[in-house]
Structures are given as C-alpha cells and as structure tokens.
C-alpha cells in the first residue's frame, strides 16, 4: 500500500483583482514504502505548491492527500495531529530552514521529541544517533547552524526530520542550493536512508540528471499537471510524452549537469491563464487538432505501441503513464 497518495489534487491561489492561479491542476501520484519518487519540472510548474499541499501547508481546492491510509488535514493554528507526524518535509534552502540562534542539537531534539510530544534534551543519545545516521559528527550538536556548510546544513535538516521517525518525507529541491559534490553526497544519502529506513520519499527537483540517479519512479510535471510517470530508467530510455522527450533531450550527455530545456520554443505559459486542451500544446512539436480542444488525462500505457482499449481512471502510481493524445490513442489499455 502506498504511504503517501495524492489523488486529483488541485491548488488554486486566489488573489483579489487578479485571475486565480491554478498552480496544481489535477495531480495524482503515490509513493510506496522504500521508494523514491522524483518529481521534475520547470520553475513555476507547481512543484513547491504540490509539496506544500502534500504535507498540509496549503489547502487543496479539490482532491485528497492520504497519508498511511487516512486523509491529511491542513496545518492550522493548532498543533499538528499525532497521526500526521510521520509525514515530514525538508525545504529547499538549508540556510532558512534552521533557526540561526538555536544550537543544532536542540533543533534535532525537537524532532526526537516530536512523536512523544516531550521536550528532549540536546545531549540525548538519540540526537547523536541521528547525527551519525546522516554522516555528521556527534559534536555537531553543540554548534550553531552558521558553523556548517550548505551541504552539512541540509544533512542537519534531514537529520531533524529523521529524528521524528517519519514514514514519508517530501523534499522540495533539497539539492538545488548545493554545489555539485554536496548534491551527489546528499543524493546518495537519500538512497541509503530510503533503503535503511524504508522511507517513502517524494524528491522534487528541476534537475533531471540528479533525480535520474536516485529516483525509482519519475514524474514529470508541466504547468500544474503531471504529464508522464513511470520507472525512472524506462522513462529515461524511452520517454513517451513530447515534453519529457524535450526535457531529456536537453540534458547534456553523458550525465553531465543537466538543466532544463532551452530547445523548446516559447515560454512557460502563465498558470493563471493556462492554454486550452493539452496545456503543452502551444509548445508541442507534435500537436494535432484535438490537442488544443481536449485535455488528455494521465493514462496507463502498455509497452510500445500495442493498442489495448480505452483509458482507465485508476490512480496512477508506478505504472507507466502519460498524458498525451498521441499515446492515449495508440498505447492506452
């Protein structure tokens, strides 16, 4: 059973006097125990919004997020309910996610005491244990965040979250503020932790080449919607959606430091005024007449080209799926 499952999630930002921004417009995803789901997409496509909605920091306008089989609630003024404490988040900027004026040990102790809702001392052996788990010396506990590098701080942020013994962790671009070697280290740390602790990890990034190396499953997002999902290696070697194809085509080979496509014509459209039909159609090199009229749903595909029938509407997890009329017509089952 999936630990974290997101079904038909919509998040709108309503602002007075301006059109509503549909930051997330119908996303279904699920993450299993011991799995890393990598979510990639260009800046502004709604990745952070999805992450924040997943842990309850923004309210969905429609759809559900379930954690361990029960629906999540938005974090309000009150204290977060105990059954959600196993769902945690790591933020993009490790300089902002640790309090500069509190010692590292005390901040990790917050995590240790989270489940029992007790105040744990910074010299608790469990603090030291979790520091070791993320590869930091136990002496780190006595120091302040500014005494650490970006990569070390990200380890600290991860340690704090792990201290709460989560079963699912959402990481919003945890690598993007780090240098290349720190990125590689944190990435392999995530793989190690996933195996060791059977974590369900939702890893968000705009860097396909990094995610490719750690994610078991890849989801590609474009303008608020997931356009393709599937086992990472399958997508990498055989992308089915034109946007994914452009993304992978834009990653310098072999495995260089990839960035997002500049090869695609046009700009990312304003999410407040998404294009009709398939949201990718103004930039799609393969668009057909239907694309500007009807929106394709994410649909399970069969291996290469055999047409089995019409689309199905089961929630999408690891099955190979894409949201493109070209594929739905020929490959859906």
């Amino acid at each position: 059973m999936s630990v974290l499952s997101i079904a038909d999630l919509h998040v709108d930002y309503r602002r007075r006097g301006r059109p509503t921004v549909q930051a997330v417009a119908g996303v279904s995803l699920s993450v299993e125990k011991g799995q890393i789901l990598g979510l990639v997409g260009e800046s502004g496509c709604g990745k952070s919004t999805l992450a924040r909605a997943a842990v309850g920091l923004v309210a969905p306008s429609a759809g559900t997020v379930e954690f361990d089989g029960s629906p999540t609630t938005r974090l309000s003024r009150g204290t977060r309910p105990a059954h959600l404490l196993g769902l945690q988040m790591v933020f993009q900027n490790p300089y902002a996610s640790l309090n500069p004026r509190r010692r590292v040990g005390a901040q990790i102790a917050d995590g240790v005491g989270a489940r029992s809702r007790t105040k744990v001392r910074a010299d608790d052996p469990r603090v030291a244990a979790v520091l070791e788990l993320v590869g930091l010396p136990t002496s780190a506990a006595g120091r302040y965040p500014h005494e650490f590098s970006g990569g070390q701080r990200q380890r600290l942020a991860i340690a704090r979250v792990l201290a709460a013994e989560p079963s699912a962790v959402v990481l919003d671009e945890p690598l993007s503020s780090l240098d290349a070697s720190a990125q590689a280290q944190i990435a392999s740390l995530l793989v190690e932790l996933k195996d060791k602790l059977s974590l369900a990890i939702l890893l968000i990034s705009h860097d396909l080449s990094v995610v490719r190396q750690v994610a078991d499953v890849l989801a590609v997002m474009y303008l608020g919607r997931v356009v393709e999902v599937g086992p990472t290696e399958q997508i990498w070697s055989d992308p089915r959606h034109p946007y994914t194809q452009a993304l992978i085509g834009a990653v310098p080979q072999p495995d260089g430091l990839g960035t997002l496509p500049t090869a695609l014509p046009g700009e990312v459209p304003d999410p407040a005024r998404p294009p009709s039909g398939c949201r990718f159609h103004p930039r799609c090199p393969e668009a057909i007449a239907r694309c500007s009229v009807e929106q394709p749903d994410l649909t399970v595909l069969v291996p290469s080209g055999r047409k089995l029938g019409t689309s199905i509407d089961t929630p999408i997890g690891t099955a190979r799926s894409a949201a493109c009329w070209l594929r739905i017509d020929t490959e859906a089952r």
């Binding site: 842990v55 920091l57 974090l75 003024r77 009150g78 204290t79 977060r80 105990a82 404490l85 945690q88 988040m89 933020f91 900027n93 300089y95 902002a96 996610s97 640790l98 309090n99 500069p100 004026r101 509190r102 901040q107 917050d110 995590g111 989270a114 489940r115 809702r117 302040y144 500014h146 005494e147 942020a157 704090r160 979250v161 709460a164």
Partner: protein, 279 residues
Amino acid sequence: MNILSRRVLPRSKPLTVIAVTVIAIWLLVALLAPVLAPGDPLSQDGTPFTAPSGAHWFGTDELGRDVLSRVIYGARLSLPLALLLVVLSALIGGTLGALAGFLRGPVDGVLMRICDLLFAFPGIVLAMVVAATLGPGITNAVLALVLISWPWYARIVRGLVVSLGEAEYVTARRLLGASTWRALLDDVLPNIVGPILVLATLDLGGAVLLLSGLSFLGLGAQAPVAEWGSMVSHGTEYFQHWWLGLFPGLAIFTVVLAFNFVGDALRDVFDPHTGRAHG
C-alpha cells in the same frame, strides 16, 4: 552580553567608543550626583546671573542656583525617566504587537487601526493634549509620551512576528508538532530581541528629547525641580545670560547623540546581512 564583546568591540568605530563613554559618564553622574555636585540644586544662596567662574563653573540662574549642580541633578531625572518611558513603550507596544502578529484576524486589524490613528496625529501635539488634560507633572508627561510611543514598537514587533512566523524553520518546527505558542516563544521572540534593543536604544535619545520638550512647554517637570528641558526653557527667557540654557542644552545634546550612535552600532550587530545568520 557575550555577543556584544565578541562582535561590537573588536571592530567598533572610535565614534561608538566615544558614545559609549559619554553614556557611561552620564550614568555615573546620575548615580553620584550628590557627591559630584558642588552644591544643592535647589538652594538659592548664590548671586543671580553669575557668569561661569571658578566658584560656579556653569554660572548661576535667575534665582542664584548653581547651574552645574542643577545639570548634574537633572541627569537623575532625565535618564531614569527616559529609560522608564522606553521600557514601558517597548513592553506595551511589543506585547500588543506580538499578539497582533500572532493572532492576526480582527485583533490584529483593530490594533493596527489604533496605531494608524495615533500615527495620524503629530505625536508631540497629542502628548501635549494628554499631558495638559492629565495635569502638568513629570509622571503625566511620561504617561502621555508612552501613549504616543508604543505604536512604533507595536508595528515593528507585529511585522517581525508575522515575517519570522513564516520563516521556514518555524514551519519545519510546526510540522514536527510544536504548537504555535512554542514556536513563537522559542523561534520567533529570541530573534526579535535584537531589533527591539536597537530601536529602544535609538529611542532613548528621542525619549530624553521628548521629555525635555514637554518640560520646555511647561507640561513636564515643574519648578523648582532641576530638569534639563525646563532649564533650557527658562534659559530662553534670559537670552543674554547664555549659560542658563546652554549647559542643560548641551547635556540633552550629548545624551541624545550618544544614544543614537550606540543604537546605530547595535543595528550593525543585529543587521541580518552582517549578523551570523549567513555566517
């Protein structure tokens, strides 16, 4: 004040050192006034309008009182009252501002509208009206000035609580199950102390000035008490006897300037760009 010794002193500018020294001297003067003052600030046994001389360094006033003694005793009044004014304003404004920023909603709305209202009046005019209504006297002057001063603290503390409350480390803490109160106490308030200390230090100079101002207008300290503002006020009536107004005026000037310099230095220490937040 470990942070002060580590961060201010090594790279402090000479101006800061001078300012701190000036404040220290004034504090000593206030503390040791009975020892330092050559005479009684109220006794009228000198010859009126004696120019500064060996016997009376700062001369005597229209009643023959020793101006130096009065300036020295004036420090006993101005400095503690300015401190009281600032502490009361910071406590009241800070508490209300923190509540507004924390609770948001209607409480916030009402409080901030009250602040806007108070900002809309010229402060000193409002203080004059209140002080006059309550009746002249130094206590009422302090109360009137607290009334016009607290909104500054309220607005700044509210802004800090709101912005720091949205800091990712607060969100991370809340996701770990901390209550909003806990996050406010542990993560937000300690980060507010610095900026408020800066504001309060800068404000101390202003408080001395405001208190003197009300006394100057006859609404603060009443005769025969030695108070710098009212001394300046009397001095202006006898312009040819310049020493009556000059020396208490200089006292106000040095105190205000010194507090401003120290406040600026503190601001550098707590400035998020130079502070250790990104160290």
